[in-house]
């Protein structure tokens, strides 16, 4: 995971927006190979959208060959309701940029068959070749999209009941009348987000600090669904200074230092070349279900029937087959810099430590070691080098 920390919300938003623009430009999308972008709603991404619009108007980026999939939509309010996510996206992004309306996908919260709508959505993502970059926000309870605490980390697009806290929080957008707040939504699942080749989450403000702490420093846990990102090979969290309030100083320093090192080495945050362009066979998240002959699926098509394989195959087998453990390593030292510092076996050439006292696990990222050997082995190995030079 990459964690990018900026002084304030504006700088964090600018970083994320620049990153997205950079990704689109590197990708050089064409109609037959569009850049597929997953998009969130809410207050967190507003700054990013504003900057993306500015960059489009300045001619820095084109959305002509960008395909978008939105995370979620309320059920049971009109599509053009002021608080619908259709309206949000129209207001803050789509109307300002040159996106082709045919390339825009948002779940239809008024679909007669919500279940079919969700299955069609997953299929449409597959038909588009999977999502290249999923931009995400985060709730105060660590939720990603409408995957409230307790949502399965293997969940896919589906109708979802909203947590009472979310209903309460959203009532401010509905005349402060809790009865007007939709109780249900259609949302992509955690696994839908995890399937993206890359995930970028924007986390802003002190109120999100506890959630960020749980998701970065805690374990993977369905009560903090964003924590699933820990299992994603190319996840990046961009946050402002306030959002890191609950993180350990050590954690903050670590992520800042590796960003600095990466930059000094000219790596920045770039991805492996295959992922940057998707021009060759994607090694990750290759669709299991073939889309041959079903490329005309549309989320609005009334004649759509979901592919049987999704239902019939056991979910675990399906996921295992579709999402093999990636073997590709980033060319950047950033992604797996923690693990890369873990030694596989004895490396000591010094004379002071007998082999049977070597630690099982080896070094921590900060160079310290487990237990009683802390601060011992590095010095000894350095000394050994000095000795040999002498």
């Amino acid at each position: 995971m990459r964690l990018i920390i900026r002084d304030d919300a504006e700088a964090a938003s600018a970083y994320a927006a620049n990153y997205i623009v950079q990704r689109i430009k590197e990708f050089a999308p064409i109609p037959s190979n569009p850049f597929v972008l997953g998009l969130p709603t809410g207050s967190s991404p507003l700054g990013i959208y504003r900057i993306l619009v500015d960059k489009f108007k300045a001619g820095e980026v084109s959305f002509e060959n960008v395909v978008t999939f939105n995370m979620d939509e309320y059920m049971g309010i009109p599509r053009d309701h002021p608080q619908s996510y259709h309206t949000f996206m129209w207001h803050h992004l789509f109307r300002h940029i040159n996106i082709n309306p045919q390339n825009v996908h948002i779940l239809n919260g008024n679909a007669p068959d919500a279940e079919a709508e969700c299955l069609a959505y997953e299929s449409a993502i597959l038909a588009a070749g999977g999502i290249d970059l999923f931009l995400a926000g985060i709730g105060e309870d660590g939720h990603i999209a409408f995957n409230e605490p307790g949502s399965s980390l293997a969940s896919r697009t589906r109708p979802k009941t909203l947590a009472y806290d979310t209903v309460l929080a959203n009532s401010r957008f509905f005349d402060s009348d809790i009865d007007k707040v939709p109780r249900m939504a259609l949302t992509v699942g955690v696994q839908t987000v995890m399937d993206a080749r890359e995930v970028v989450a924007i986390v802003l403000g002190a109120r999100k600090a506890p959630a960020l702490q749980k998701c970065v420093e805690g374990g993977v846990n369905h009560m903090w669904t964003l924590s699933a990102l820990q299992l994603h090979p190319h996840a990046m969290i961009v946050c402002d200074d306030d959002a890191v309030l609950e993180l350990q100083v050590k954690t903050v320093k670590y992520f800042k230092s590796i960003e600095q090192v990466a930059r000094s080495q000219g790596f920045e945050q770039s991805l492996p070349s295959k992922l940057r362009t998707r021009n060759t066979n994607p090694s990750i998240n290759e669709p299991l279900v073939t889309t041959n002959g079903t490329a005309n699926w549309s989320t609005n098509s009334s004649t759509y029937t979901p592919p049987p394989t999704i239902h019939d195959a056991p979910q675990s087998a399906l996921l295992a087959a579709r999402y093999p453990i990636p073997v590709e390593r980033s060319k950047s030292p950033v992604f797996d810099s923690m693990s890369s510092r873990i030694q596989d076996g004895p490396v000591f050439v010094g004379v002071m430590t007998p082999p049977d006292e070597l630690p099982d696990q080896g070094y921590h990222s900060d160079g310290s070691m487990n237990g009683s050997l802390k601060g011992h082995t590095n010095e000894s190995s350095e000394r050994a080098v000095e000795n040999s030079n002498a």
């Binding site: 259709h86 129209w90 789509f94 109307r95 082709n100 309306p101 948002i106």
Partner: protein
């Protein structure tokens, strides 16, 4: 999903502009369609019809207002609606010329006004002044559009005739009296949109005539009248919804007899809201503070009108005018028009509606949105055209004025008409300075 019509959908997006929305100027985009001639609900067009605009026009931060509506226009550019020509096809030609010139001033629709005239004149000219939406296609190149005629007379009080010829003024006691003057076939809202009358002339006027006209959807306006507050209130209760050029050609406010102006303070019975009222803010008809008082009395009712004569847009001089049974001469000296021989009486104006808007902003301090509302949403509401004219809401006719506010070179903050759009098509664009 529908098919994408990327070319030739006739939709233009105006962007980087401030839209008049209610009492505010709001930074927003506006989509207009030259195919339907209406303002487009852009979000639905995008999601439902997968439409993107053909053209995008950056307005550089200028103001977009609905097209102006002049509710009282006697003529302009040398043509007066109270004119009978031997060959009435020439009359139509004159109207077509006027429409094309008038639209360039920001007035996209208007109520052609015929003063107190003989029955013969009314019956000749009224069919030619009918609402153009009733007959012709919605053709942007035709320019400004008639919303139906306003007959300002002849059922007026001779004591408040202004420059109207007393010889043709009449008294009505029944609908038959009106039909005999205007022609029965013309007494429909597509031809006669509005009638100015003096309610005190007969008891039947308030008792039966005004309700009868209202039931025909013809707007009744009180004007050229000596009505008391009580008489005016009764007329409003009976269905009159407008006052023709408030203060002019009526008794002034007296503290024990507030007269027609008093109605702006509300009716004694509070049975219905106060009426709309026309204000000629040309700087000649009214003192600035009078305008301000009227506005403060009933801000939502103020309609700016020009009451312009055919000398609007012409140089100073002596111009003929058919006035009832007489041929008079009107002298134009600057913006002032007077009747030759009776030079203390104002004979209409020669102003443009945009000038009235600028005057109104200066006099009242009410702000640009309110001033523009007085030539858009308020007259549209007065004419029963809310949602169709005078608004930038989706579904309304895409009649627009693009205004610049403030020219640093000239040190002015006046609004200026830069562009005019009719039915979603740009029909006028001010030439840029070399």
């Amino acid at each position: 999903m529908g098919s994408t019509t990327k070319t030739g959908n006739g939709i233009t997006k105006l962007t980087n502009c401030r839209l008049l929305r209610g009492d505010e100027l709001v930074w927003d985009d506006l989509w207009v369609s030259s195919t339907t001639g209406r303002i487009v609900q852009s979000q639905a067009a995008f999601y439902d019809d997968l439409i993107v605009p053909n053209d995008v026009i950056d307005l550089g931060g200028r103001i977009v207002s609905p097209g102006f509506i002049d509710s009282q226009l006697n003529g302009a550019f040398g043509f007066n609606f109270s004119t009978v020509l031997d060959d009435m096809s020439l009359y139509d030609q004159s109207i077509r010329d006027l429409n094309k010139k008038l639209v360039q001033t920001g007035v996209t629709s208007y109520v052609p006004t015929v003063t107190s005239q003989t029955s013969a004149l009314y019956q000749r000219v009224l069919p030619h002044l009918a609402s153009s939406s009733a007959s012709s296609s919605r053709d942007a190149s035709s320019g400004a559009e008639s919303l139906g005629a306003h007959v300002e007379g002849p059922f007026l009080n001779p004591l408040r005739n202004g420059v109207h010829n007393v010889a043709v003024l009449r008294r009505a006691t029944s609908l038959a009296d009106l039909e005999s003057v205007y022609g029965a076939a013309n007494l429909t809202p597509s031809t006669i949109k509005m009638i100015t009358l003096a309610p005190e002339l007969s008891p039947e006027t308030t008792k039966t005539l005004i309700p009868a006209l209202r039931s025909r959807d013809i707007i009744v306006s009180i004007g050229h009248s000596n009505a008391t507050y009580e008489e005016a209130s009764a007329a409003v209760s009976a269905g009159a919804t407008m006052i023709t050029h408030l203060f002019n050609a009526m008794a002034p406010l007296h503290h024990r007899n507030p007269g027609i102006f008093g109605v702006l303070g509300g009716l004694p019975s509070h049975s219905c809201p106060p009426p709309y009222f026309g204000i000629i803010a040309d700087g000649i008809h009214l003192h600035p503070t009078t305008t301000k008082i009227a506005f403060n009395a009933h801000p939502d009712g103020l309609v700016l009108v020009t009451d312009a004569m055919h000398m609007a847009g012409l140089p100073d001089g002596r111009y003929p005018w058919r006035n009832g049974t007489d041929d008079n001469w009107i002298l134009k000296r600057g913006a002032v028009l007077v009747l030759e021989g009776r030079e203390t009486t104002i004979a209409g104006s020669s102003t443009l509606l945009i000038n009235c808007v600028n005057n109104f902003v200066k006099w009242t301090g009410a702000g640009v949105p309110r001033a523009l509302g007085a030539v858009t949403a308020t007259p549209a509401a007065m004419l029963g055209l809310s949602g169709k004219k005078g608004t930038l809401e989706p579904g309304a006719d895409a009649d627009l004025v693009v205004l610049s506010d403030g020219d640093e070179e000239n040190g002015t903050t006046d609004l200026a008409v830069d562009e005019v759009w009719k039915f979603g098509v740009r029909v006028f664009q001010k030439r840029k300075k070399a």
